[in-house]
């Protein structure tokens, strides 16, 4: 139901992090997750709600590989 997009963490300072979205830097609250610099976080309304394991392009490739395995 909600718009949330992945961005890359470039700095962490306590519960605030700078997150980069293709060259757009936003201050994001990371109080609900524990990200390291370089990781991707899923950001909704100024708040990181999860750390993403993979970058999105790789995730889609893996998703379809899994689909094959399930079929």
């Amino acid at each position: 139901m909600c718009v949330a997009i992945p961005g890359r963490v470039t700095e962490v300072d306590g519960t605030t992090a700078k997150v980069d979205f293709n060259g757009n830097s936003v201050n994001v609250n990371v109080g609900l997750v524990d990200p390291k610099v370089g990781q991707y976080v899923l950001v909704h309304a100024g708040c990181a709600i999860e750390v993403m394991e993979k970058e999105q392009a790789q995730e889609i490739i893996d998703l379809f590989a899994d689909l094959e395995a399930m079929a």
């Binding site: 139901m1 909600c2 718009v3 708040c47 995730e59």
Partner: protein, 353 residues
Amino acid sequence: MEIAKVIDYLKSYDGRQLKLMEVCGTHTAAIFKNGIRDLISPKIRLISGPGCPVCVTPTAFIDKCVEYAKAPGCELLTFGDMMKVPGSQGSLSENKAAGESGAKANITIMYSPLEAIEKAKQNPDITYVVAAVGFETTAPTYALLIREAERQGVRNIRLVTALKTAIPALRWICENQNDIDGFICPGHVSVITGVHVYDELAAGFGKPFVVSGFEAEHILAAIYRIVRQIEAGEGRVENMYPNAVREDGNPKALQAIEDVFAPGPAVWRGLGRINGSGLYLKEEHSVYDGGSRGLDEDMQLPDGCRCGDVITGRINPDQCPMFAGGSCTPMDPFGPCMVSSEGSCGIWYRNKH
């Protein structure tokens, strides 16, 4: 497996007529934007659920927000998509413009509710009232706002909440609408709640519940899995968004919600009152509550309005007399499905006109 094969499979599907519901408004928008319906067989019908927290918000909530926006010393912070939801005295957008009574409505569009903290600290004489709408995805952010305000001793913030939880609404739909064959579960709600919240529903109703991300590829993969499950006579929970959705969700976020909010009844425009589907500030945080309970009064939807039937997929938007007669349009909406740019009527309208 290649995406083209998945599309081929869904395009050439010729089994029994299926009705799948995408619960989430962001899914509805992605399905529309990516032309997903054009890629799958007409025998797989996608219907849009009530998954937009903005458009199911009752009139009384909007009226309360307008009241605060016009009150001396108050500034209302809201997400942009709340602006055009109709209240009994007009929408926020209309009231922002209505200056002739002398009371100027102070409304600022926010990107994040957390902006309230800095604003409140900079202007201690102004009370910042946050129009707190959202589902499980957004509720933790409001919880952080309250925690942070308490930690820093910031008192000039109020929340008017119309927070809703999607899972009780999903149960309501399962209980009241048994011809839906499978559900595309809301990916970002699931980030918070985890996937086990669907176990009881899948088991109880014997239907597939597949968690999906928001790229076209995610959605097609989820539809594919639902169809394959149905063909195999299964009704299980599957997580097709494991990159973001953990089995148990985000425990810190769930804890934040539990610390700050308590469940209560909530009114969904078009569906009515659903017990346990609302979140309200707990007693110990009541100093931050701008009077959120009991904002149940909703506008009398015109006689012809069939929102409830559209939301639950009983009829298509153009079968609603208000839609067909041209009296409900995106510029002058009545029901939730037309108010939201992600509602099925709004999307249908923009497709046909």
